[in-house]
Each structure stands twice: as C-alpha cells, then as structure tokens.
Symmetry: C2
Subunit: 507 residues, 2 copies
C-alpha cells in the first residue's frame, strides 16, 4: 500500500511508542510477548497496539499466530479464564462469575455431579418418615431426587407449545420418544411412557403432563421401579383466574372438600367434544394401573411419585388422593413446587391417614403457595386454635421445605413476585440449599444460566441474557432456497392418537 | 391393554361412526382412504378419527404409514400446500399466504429470480441520465440493482453486535472473510474488501461499514468492476440526538455547507485516543484509492457505488462529495434509503456539477427523510421561490423514488413511524414496486418474512413471528457438559488490526 512519507514517519514513531507501551503493560520484550501471547486477551491487545505500524503487521502477525495457535485452545483459555475468574471473584465474592459462562471447552465443569447409589435409603428419601432429619441440613441424596422431579415438572413447560401462531399451540412439541432427549433429561434414566392429553389434544384441550418410569439402571440405583407423573402448571393469567375461584367442593365422604377450580381441571371431560371423552384423571389412572400391573407381575418394588409446579402441584395432590384410595398399599409421594392450597383439613387428614407423603417446596417470596382461601385464611390466622376444625378453611398438607431467594448470591435483590414463582428459581435455590442457617452451597453445580430462561432474575455481573429460552428465530428456519420458513412438524410430533401406547408396544 | 366391556362397546360404536365420518368427509371407502392419505392434513384427521378404536389402531397405523411414507415428502405436501394456499388465497386475495411460510422442501420457490446480463445498460442503471424513464415504471434490472445495494446496507445492521452484554458490542460479529457468507449475501457476487473501524474498534468507536468489490463473474454481468461502500445507519436514539443537531457547517469553498452532526461522524478522529487515529473518511478513501489503482492498472472500467440507510445515507453523500472531488472522472453514484437531508443548496449544486448521481429511495410514511432543518424547511416551504438561494436551507439532492407502505397487501395498515423507517420495509416495497399507479408486483419473490426481522409490521394472517431475528438463545449455546455458555469468539472475529488488509494479501 502506498503511504505518504509524512504518515510513514508518524507510523514509525507510533511503532516505537507501541513497543514501549507493551513493555510497560506486560513488562516483557518483543520476543517474550510472542511467547506470552498465550492468553487470548493479551493477544488481542497485543495486535491492537502493534497495528499502527502497517509495515510490521504481516510479519508480527504470522509470528504471533504461530506462537499462539498450539496453546490457545486449552492452556491459554485456562489461564485466561482462571485469571478473569479470580479477579472477578475477589470483586463479587461469588463461586461463579461471567467468565464461567464463556465456553472453555474441556475445562468446563459438568452441570451435575456423579450419581451415587441411593438404593439403601430409598424409603426414607421417598418420605417414609415424612423426611424427618433429611431437610435441615438437606440430605444430598434427597436434594438430587427433589431436583430430578423438579426437572420433570420443568419439562412440561419446556416441551409445551406456547406459540399462539402455531397451529398446535397448547400441545407438546415433541412426541414421547423424543421429549426427554430434546430437553436433555435422558441422564435421569427414565423413559417417557405416555403423554397425557396428547391423545386428546385439540384446540380446546391443552397438554397437561406425562407419565415416565425409571429404567433398569436408574431403578437399581434408587432401589425401586419409580413411576412418575409430572403435571404441567398454569401458564396464562386466564388459567389462574379459573384456579382462583376458591370454592370448596365435596369429594369422597362428607367432610372432605377440595377447591372447585383445580378439581374441574383434573376431572373435566365431555361426551360432546370429540377429543375430551377421557378426563386427565382417567388417562393417568389407566396408564398408572397398566404400569403397576406390569411391574407387579415381575415382582418388583414399585413407587409412585407425583410432581408438579404451581397448578401442577395442586393437580398432583388430587392425583395422589385418587391413586391412594384406588390402589391400596402403593407407596405414593408428592413433590410439589410453589403449589397453592388445595383442600380443607379433612382432605389433609385423609391424605395423612392413607399414608400419602407430601413434600412441599416453597419459596418464601412466592405468593402462590398462599393462594386458595387466601383472604379467609389470613383473617382467621389468629383464631387458628378456634378454626382449625372448620371444613371451610384451606390447609397445606405434608412437610415443607422453605427456600429464600435472598440466599442466592446470583439473584437480583429486588423481589419480583412473578420471578419468585418461577420453577427454575426453585431448582436453583434447591441446588444451593444446605440448611436454614447455612450459606448458599459453594460447590452447587447446576447451570445458573437456566434461571434466566424465561425471567430476568440473575445479577448483571453474570452477563446472562434475560428471557433467552425460545425457539431459535422464533421457530423460523432458513431453507436451501434462502427462504425463512416454519419447518413442517414431523408426523409423529403432530398431536394425535399416534402418541397412545398400542398393544404391541407394551413391554 | 385391559378395557372394560362397557367401554369396549362404546369404542366399537365409535369406530363405526368413524368410518361413516370418513366416508362423509372424503367420500371414499376405507381402502381408498389409505391411498388418499397422501395428504398430511388428511392423514392426521384420519388417524384422529380412527383412534377411538384401540383395537384397530396398530393395524390401521402400519397400513396407513406404509401407504403414506413414499409420497408424503413431495407429492402430498404439494397437494396440501396447493390446497391450503388456494383456499386462503381466495380468502385474502394475496399472492402469498401463511402456507407459503411452511417448509414444503423442493416445492418452495427460491427467494430471487435468475440473474440476467445487465452489462449493456450499466451506465443508465448507474445513473448516467439520472434514471430518467427507469423509475416509473421501475425497470426490473434497476430494481434488482437497488435491492442488491439495499441488502449490502442491511448487512451493516445484521452483522452488527448490538448486544450490550457482549464485550464486543459495537463491533462487526464476523470477520471480512465470513460476513457475506454468514448473512447469505454471497449470491450477489461481491467480495468483502475491508471492514471499516474494524481496525479501530474500541469501546468508544463503532463499526461503521465496509468496502466490497464485484468479482469477475458479477463484473461481467453488470458490465464494470463495481466498488461498493456500505455505511451503517443509526441504531440508538442517542445517535439520533447527535444527528439532529442541525447546525450547518462550511466545507470546501465558501457557500457549501453540510450538517455538523453527520460531518463529525464522518470526519472525527483523535490523536489522543488509541484506536481513533484514522477517521472513517480517511479509511474509506485509502481503501477505495487502493482498489481503483489496482483495477485501473488492469485497464478495467470501474464504478463506485455508495449506499446506506438513514444516517448511513447521509454519510454516503459526504463520502460521495469527498470521492468525487479527490478522484476526478470516477463514475460515482449514491443509492440511499430513508436518508435525511445533509447539506444546503450549494452542496446539492456542487454534487450535480461534479456529476455525482444520487437515487434517494424514500417511504412516504417515513419521517426521517424530512429530518435536518425539519422545522425551518417546513416554515419556509411556501416562500420557496424566495428562499431557494439561501445557504441555510437544507436541500435533498438527486432523483427520488417514492414508495408507499399502503401499496403492499402484506403490511399492517396502522402507520408505524419506526416501522416505516426500517430498511427491510424499504426492500420489501421495492420488490413489489412496478410504478406509482400500479399494484404491488404479484410475482415479487423476495422473502416476505424478512419484514418482521426486527419489527412487527406483517399482517396477522401470514402468521410470521414479530422481532424474530436474533441470535438463537440470545447467543447462548448448550455445550457437551449440558451447560449454557457463550461461545468464545474466534480469534479472527475479534475486532483487531487482523481485519486490516496486509501487504501480502493485496491482489
């Protein structure tokens, strides 16, 4: 390139200045720099500073790149990340920092710690003694189990087609053979058994959850064949509105009453519509009975675990009530997250009596668990000793594990009602929970980035985008003609009776 | 699966009903249906209706799938899409409908029509006669050229790193070897020559555009070696604020004045900052001179086309002024989109005098082209015959091609000021523009979905998501450890002098 003599001189001057700057910055010589350039960060500044001298550029560049390439991929990044992490650490007092969310390849820690064999303790973990002495401090095996079920519940959101522009809005985006794979849940060692309301999908009926069962390997490590029912929670305010019609409705014997809204979702069906002839309740019980029969015949120990978040937690309790009354002797436990109250005292006492074990995970700042009979319960709070026998007061059932958003150093301080109800917040707090009086677990390994999937709750310092979990390009893909189009849904992913288990598919 | 006798009966009944329904729906027999099931739509309904009979399910399913598989991929989809399109067409009176955005594989039409050889007419297309008789009706060759330059301008947005969480915010996301490929612009037959302010990138200086040059094949089809400078427009309101300081500043001889804000962006540099020693102006002219020298020596015909949207259009004019005064005899034309006024009458007259050809594409509803001296120009509008010689009145230069948002049947009717300024709206309207008094081009082939990339302007019926153009998962990727992380930027994509053309890379 032609350069005017004047500018050439200026450049020479600069080049000298540059060398000096580099010396100052890294306290090394030109030669040393090329060796030292193993850190990408340094490398860039190095290039930038040298740039002003066009003459040296190509030369320096070749040398620098040769010097860098071999080590860059691993060693350099380690150094860089290590360096960045340390400095930010001291700044934030956090185990994780922004640099932990930059891909360092093999130097990344996996999201989960290796599995132990939990078979010896499975009945306690499943709630045999109502989790006494397991909650504070939280037993690591129990933590793993709770998070597992929580992720099953989360899958009912992640797999749900929320897109109002989609002709399948309200259905599950993946068929039962693909869901766990698509959502990265295969590591839990469960296989998807049946997608409820998949069969009965229509514009008016939404996908409400699924049944899964532990495979042989997982069954061995947890000590029993575990059947799981995961219920989807509420997504729309309108759904909440239905939920909040807090009228008690009588079920079973005289005294037992549950909230009308929840029960109608669980039980509703219609002979007049084409796809709603079977209620959610009927479909679940049909499938669970099938599985129990199948594994009983093989003489296996079986447990039934029902999980759900928000509305899903309420449905889980109704499901547990029905299962326990219709299948005596089956160990049933409910792991619910941010679930509202469902029934009255008689309902609670009945569940205790028939031995349904319930573990309610609640976040202190989340108002939803306070829902259902919200007002009257608060008014009557002080008169509790008087009212505790009344049928028209909502009661929480089972044991409670209370989490506090302010425990986590990664979450923003301003309390966000909606955010505090988010299931990913629950899972994040669980992952860090050691005990009431203890600090956030320093070696918690669950991916912190997941918190911001559909909310904006992580502190700025982590530099994780907010609301980042959505289909790439909102579902559009660039085809080979250069057109942005919506991919055809695979026939097996189209909600239809195909998702029902047919005879020849039974074990 | 065990079924109660009662339900079995109900199911048998249903199965019968089903057959009847199918007959009614398709007027065919069971056997015929299996053949007819070639349409996915039909297939699903078919499955749905048969489903109620569990007994028949597995059988029917196998048959149906066998019958369908081979033809489904092409033939069926053709039928389906054809059918849907037609029905919706009659509904909407649109050449395109929602079904055109569903991937029908090989049956999709490509985004662009095949290229013609435009070499015979290149001087006219480049503005030799100020595009007389080419604008209304719009000559198809000219339309193709304008859209090409518009897409070069669009690339300065699509390649720009807007992410405030990114350490490289304000830079170009791709290096000059990858940009066109990443943005699907290789089909234009230009190669990326130099990324401006790539060299001088820093937290304080943003990437402002790039120089590209037509390759041999394209040069032959357009009749000359075309050098293109694409200027990025404004992205942030703060940038607009700077632009709107509508103070006229004297350049060149006494009379010529241009808007201070634009000129400062074009000319600003600082000896004190480390990376801003060269202004945008200096970098562009340096590169353009290098290319002209190179191709002149090969005895080729050369044209210089400067394009830009919004602020980019204003910078393009300043660039044209400088180039035309410093490189006599070089055919220079400016294709600007939604550009504001830049200078006074003397500036306009000077550009005319030295033969800079300017084609200003404006959308009637877009207010930005009315910016700069907005108020005074409107006040003095009636006194035009008096004021037209004053130096302090802003003037538009060159020829104008005016588009109307309401021409397009795909755009929402409510006029959206920001939306009407969006460059993709400009390109969409151009693609459909035949002439002032003519309807939207029925066979316009440019991808309509692009309109909604960063705005919400397409009619609901097309079912294209709004604001859909963003990095998948906002830049996070799932690594093999199951962690969501930000990929390390490739060293060659890190803004640094590496993006400068070095001696040994020159042609």
């Amino acid at each position: 390139m032609e350069v005017s003599p004047l500018r050439q001189v200026r450049k020479e001057k600069e080049a000298k200045k540059t060398k000096w700057v580099l010396k100052l910055k890294f306290g090394v010589t030109w030669k040393a720099i090329k060796k030292a350039s193993s850190s990408t960060m340094k490398l860039n500044r190095f290039h930038l500073t040298c740039a002003s001298s066009m003459k040296q550029l190509s030369l320096v560049r070749v040398q620098a790149e040769e010097a860098v390439k071999p080590i860059q991929q691993a060693h350099a990044k380690k150094k860089a990340s290590h360096h960045v992490t340390k400095s930010l650490l001291s700044l934030l007092q956090l185990p994780y920092t922004a640099s932990d969310f930059i891909d360092w390849g093999d130097l990344m820690t996996p999201t989960k710690s290796p599995k132990e064999n939990r078979s010896t303790k499975w009945r306690e973990i499943h709630g045999l003694h109502s989790w006494d002495n397991l909650l504070d401090p939280l037993h690591p095996w129990l933590r793993r189990e709770i998070i597992k079920y929580g992720e099953f519940a989360q899958a009912t959101y992640d797999g749900f087609d929320f897109d109002p522009l989609s002709e399948f809005c309200g259905s599950c985006r993946y068929n039962r053979h693909k869901l766990f794979e698509e959502l990265g849940l295969t590591n839990h060692g469960y296989k998807f058994e049946r997608s409820h309301l998949g069969q009965t999908w229509s514009k008016d009926s939404n996908w409400m959850g699924y049944v899964a069962v532990s495979n042989d390997e997982e069954s061995e490590s947890i000590g029993k064949r575990d059947i799981v029912m995961a219920w989807r929670g509420t997504i729309s305010p309108t759904e909440w509105f239905t939920d909040l019609k807090a009228i008690l409705e009588r079920i079973g014997d005289g005294k037992i009453k549950v909230q009308h809204g929840f029960r109608s979702i669980y039980k509703s069906k219609s002979e007049f519509t084409r796809y709603n002839k079977l209620s959610a309740s009927e479909q679940v019980m049909e499938e669970v009975n099938r599985l129990i029969k199948f594994y009983k015949e093989k003489g296996e120990e079986i447990s039934f675990t029902i999980t759900g978040h928000s509305l899903g937690g309420a449905l889980a309790l109704l499901n547990a009530y029905e299962a326990s009354t219709s299948i005596p002797g089956l160990p049933i436990s409910v792991i619910s997250f941010g679930a509202p109250r469902v029934g009255n005292l008689a309902f609670k006492e009945k569940l205790d009596e028939i031995g349904v074990k319930t573990l309610r995970i609640v976040v202190k700042q989340d108002i939803v668990p306070k829902f259902s009979g919200f007002i009257c319960n608060n008014i009557l709070h002080k008169l509790n000793f008087v009212t505790k026998k009344f049928n028209w007061v909502y009661r929480h059932v089972g044991s409670q594990l209370k989490l506090d958003m302010f425990m986590s150093p990664y979450l923003k301080r301003e309390s966000d009602l909606i955010g505090s109800h988010n299931l990913e917040i629950y899972l994040h707090l669980l992952d860090g929970f050691l005990g009431k009086q203890r600090k956030f677990r320093w070696n918690a390994q669950r991916d912190v980035a997941l918190v911001n999937k559909t909310i904006d709750m992580l502190i700025e310092e982590l530099r994780i985008p907010k609301f980042w979990y959505q289909l790439p390009y909102k579902g559009l893909v660039l085809n080979k003609h250069g057109r942005w189009v919506k991919p055809c849904r695979e026939p097996e992913d189209v909600p239809s009776p195909l998702s029902v288990v047919s005879e020849n598919e039974l074990h």
